[in-house]
C-alpha cells in the first residue's frame, strides 16, 4: 500500500519539483505545436494522463515478468496499445478536436515523458505508486500546458479557451481583449511558445531560489525524526 509521505512526494514531484515541462523539459514537440490555446493543451494533457496512468500500472504489474534486456520494446508495445485505444476514443467522441490535435495523439507513443516515467518509476515500483506517479506527472503537464496555451492565445488572439465549443458545444470562448486587438501573431507561432516557456522556467527557478533562500534564513526547525540519519 502507499503511505502518506510517499503520496506527498509523488504528487509534489509531478506537480512542481520534477514538472515534465518546466523542470525536466520533456515532450517539447507537442508542447510547442499544440498549445496555441488552453483547450488544446488541456485535452492533449488529459489524453496523456490517461495513457501514463494506464501504462504505468500495466508496466508496474508486469515488471517482474519483463526480461531486463528487452524491456524498452515491451514498454513501447504496451504504451502503443494504450495510445491506440485513446486515439480511437478521441476519434469517436471528440472528432473535431481529434482533427485539431491530429498527429499529436498517436505521437503520445513517442512522447519521452511516457517512456521516461515507465522506465524511471513504474519498472521499479509497485502498481499503486506507479499509477499515482503517472497521474501526477500528467497533472504537472496539464497545468503548464494550460497556462502556456492560455498565455499564447491571450497574446495572439485576445481570447481565452478558444475551441471550447469542440468539447462542450454549449460553451463559447471568452473574448478578453477588445475586438480591435490586432493579435500578436508571434505568440501563436513556435518562437512565442519557446519564449514564453523560457519565461515560465525562469519563474520556476526564481520561486525555487526564493524558497531556498527563505529556508536558509530561517533557524533550522526542530527535527521531528530525531536520531534518524
Amino acid at each position: 500500500m502507499i503511505t502518506r509521505d510517499e503520496f506527498k512526494t509523488i504528487a509534489g514531484n509531478g506537480i512542481w519539483k520534477q514538472n515534465t515541462s518546466i523542470a525536466q523539459i520533456l515532450g517539447l514537440c507537442p508542447l510547442l505545436a499544440v498549445t496555441t490555446n488552453a483547450v488544446n493543451g488541456i485535452m492533449l494533457s488529459l489524453a496523456t494522463i490517461l495513457v501514463m496512468a494506464l501504462s504505468n500500472v500495466a508496466v508496474a504489474s508486469l515488471r517482474n515478468f519483463i526480461p531486463h534486456e528487452i524491456r524498452i520494446p515491451v514498454f513501447i508495445l504496451i504504451v502503443a496499445a494504450l495510445v491506440t485505444v485513446v486515439d480511437l476514443l478521441f476519434n469517436a467522441n471528440l472528432h473535431e478536436l481529434y482533427l485539431v490535435l491530429g498527429i499529436f495523439i498517436p505521437l503520445i507513443v513517442t512522447n519521452c515523458i511516457v517512456l521516461a516515467r515507465v522506465e524511471a518509476f513504474a519498472a521499479k515500483n509497485p502498481p499503486l505508486q506507479s499509477t499515482f506517479d503517472g497521474i501526477f506527472m500528467g497533472v504537472g503537464m496539464l497545468w503548464t500546458l494550460a497556462l502556456l496555451g492560455g498565455m499564447r492565445e491571450l497574446l495572439g488572439n485576445g481570447t481565452l479557451f478558444g475551441g471550447i465549443d469542440m468539447v462542450f458545444p454549449s460553451l463559447q470562448p471568452i473574448q478578453l481583449l477588445p475586438e480591435s486587438y490586432p493579435g500578436f501573431l508571434l505568440a501563436l507561432l513556435p518562437p512565442g511558445a519557446f519564449i514564453l516557456l523560457g519565461c515560465m522556467i525562469a519563474w520556476k527557478n526564481w520561486m525555487d531560489a526564493r524558497a531556498a533562500a527563505r529556508a536558509q534564513a530561517k533557524p533550522p526547525a526542530p527535527v521531528a525524526t530525531a536520531g534518524a540519519h
Binding site: P182, F184, L185, L186, A187, L189, P191, I195
Partner: protein, 338 residues
C-alpha cells in the same frame, strides 16, 4: 569574441562612439524626412522614448547603475535603427513594441550591452514582421503628400489608416510585377515607366540610401568601423545580383537597384558592422559581410518577405562565434598555420 595580442586600446568611450554613429545617420534621416515625409522624425522620438524607458526599467530590475548605462547612447542607436527600418507611418505602438522587445529580450535578457548574440534592432524588425506582416508592409508609395500633423495623427491612431497610404516598397513592386504578369515582362521597362521607381532605384528611397552611404563612409574615415564588412556585404550583393542580371536582364534587376533599395545600405554600414553581434577577426568580418549580402539578396528576391537584410544579418549573427573561431589570425611573431 577573442582576438590574440597585441591589443591596442583606443581612448574612446562607448557614448562617444554611439554619438558619432547617430551623427553618421543624420544625412540618411535628413533625406528621409525631406523626400519621404517628416513622419520619420516622429517615429525617431517614439522609438527613443520607448528605448530609454525600457532600458531604465531593465537596469532597475537588474540593479545596475542608471546614469552610467542610460547615458551611453546604445539604446538610442538601437531605437534609431528600428525607427529607420520600420514603415514611416507604422502605428506608434508597433515601433514602441519593437523597441521594447529589442531592449528587454534581445539586449538585457542576454546580459545587456556587449553580451547580445543578435542585433537588437534586427530582432525588433523580425519579431514585428512575423507578428504583424500587414502593418509592416504598408509603405507610402511616393513621398507623402500630407502635412506633418496629418502624418502624426495617423501614427498616433487619431486618424483612420487609409488604404491608399499603403503602397509597396520598390522591391515589392518589382517582385509583384514579375509574379503577376506573364514571362514577357521586362524589368528595364518597369523601372523606366512606373512612378514608384526613380533614377536608378526607388524614387526618393535611392537618396535615403545615398545618405546612409555618406554617413557610413564618414564612420569609416573616423575609424569607427573597418572597411571589411561593408565592402564584403556590397561586394557579395553586387556579384550575385550582377551575375543573375547578366544572365537574364528581363527577370532580374541590376546591381545598382539592389544596392540602393530596401535596407542594403543601412544594413551594410550600420547593422552588419555592429561590433557585438558581428565578427571580430578581419577575415571573419569579410565572411560575415559577404554571407549577409548573399543571404539578403536570396531572401529579398526569392523569399516571401519584402526585404531580406534583417533575416540575413540575424542568420549570420548565429554563425559569428564559429567564424571567429575558425579565422583566428596568427599570433604576433608566429607564422600562420596554413
Amino acid at each position: 569574441m577573442f582576438a590574440p595580442a597585441p591589443y591596442f586600446l583606443k581612448d574612446v568611450s562607448v557614448s562617444q562612439v554611439m554619438i558619432q554613429v547617430c551623427i553618421a545617420l543624420i544625412p540618411g534621416i535628413a533625406a528621409y524626412a525631406w523626400l519621404i515625409g517628416p513622419a520619420i522624425l516622429v517615429q525617431l522620438v517614439i522609438a527613443s522614448l520607448a528605448a530609454l524607458l525600457a532600458e531604465s526599467a531593465m537596469l532597475k530590475i537588474r540593479g545596475k547603475p542608471q546614469a552610467l548605462f542610460l547615458s551611453d547612447g546604445s539604446a538610442i542607436v538601437t531605437a534609431w535603427l528600428i525607427a529607420l527600418t520600420f514603415p514611416p507611418l507604422a502605428p506608434w505602438w508597433l515601433v514602441a513594441l519593437g523597441t521594447v522587445f529589442a531592449i528587454v529580450v534581445a539586449k538585457h535578457l542576454y546580459g545587456g550591452l556587449g553580451q547580445n548574440p543578435f542585433n537588437p534592432a534586427m530582432i525588433a524588425f523580425a519579431v514585428c514582421i512575423v507578428a504583424f506582416p500587414a502593418l509592416m508592409s504598408q509603405w507610402p508609395s511616393v513621398g507623402l503628400q500630407m502635412s506633418l500633423l496629418d502624418q502624426m495623427n495617423i501614427i498616433l491612431g487619431l486618424a483612420p489608416r487609409v488604404d491608399a497610404l499603403a503602397g509597396a516598397t520598390p522591391l515589392d513592386a518589382l517582385k509583384t510585377a514579375l509574379k503577376l504578369s506573364d514571362s514577357n515582362v521586362d524589368i528595364a521597362q518597369l523601372l523606366a515607366n512606373q512612378d514608384i521607381f526613380g533614377n536608378f532605384a526607388g524614387r526618393g528611397w535611392e537618396w535615403v540610401a545615398g545618405g546612409y552611404l555618406l554617413g557610413g563612409l564618414w564612420m569609416w574615415q573616423r575609424k569607427l568601423i573597418t572597411w571589411h564588412v561593408p565592402v564584403a556585404f556590397i561586394g557579395a550583393l553586387v556579384v550575385i545580383s550582377g551575375a543573375l542580371w547578366l544572365y537574364n536582364p528581363a527577370q532580374f534587376a541590376n546591381p545598382l537597384f539592389h544596392l540602393f533599395s530596401g535596407g542594403a545600405m543601412i544594413g551594410a554600414f550600420f547593422i552588419a558592422t555592429d561590433p557585438v553581434s558581428g565578427c571580430t577577426t578581419p577575415r571573419g568580418k569579410l565572411i560575415f559581410g559577404a554571407g549577409a549580402g548573399l543571404l539578403a539578396y536570396i531572401i529579398r528576391v526569392f523569399g516571401g518577405y519584402p526585404d531580406g537584410v534583417a533575416f540575413a544579418v540575424l542568420l549570420m549573427n548565429l554563425c559569428a562565434p564559429l567564424i571567429d573561431l575558425l579565422t583566428q589570425p596568427p599570433i604576433f611573431g608566429m607564422k600562420n598555420k596554413a
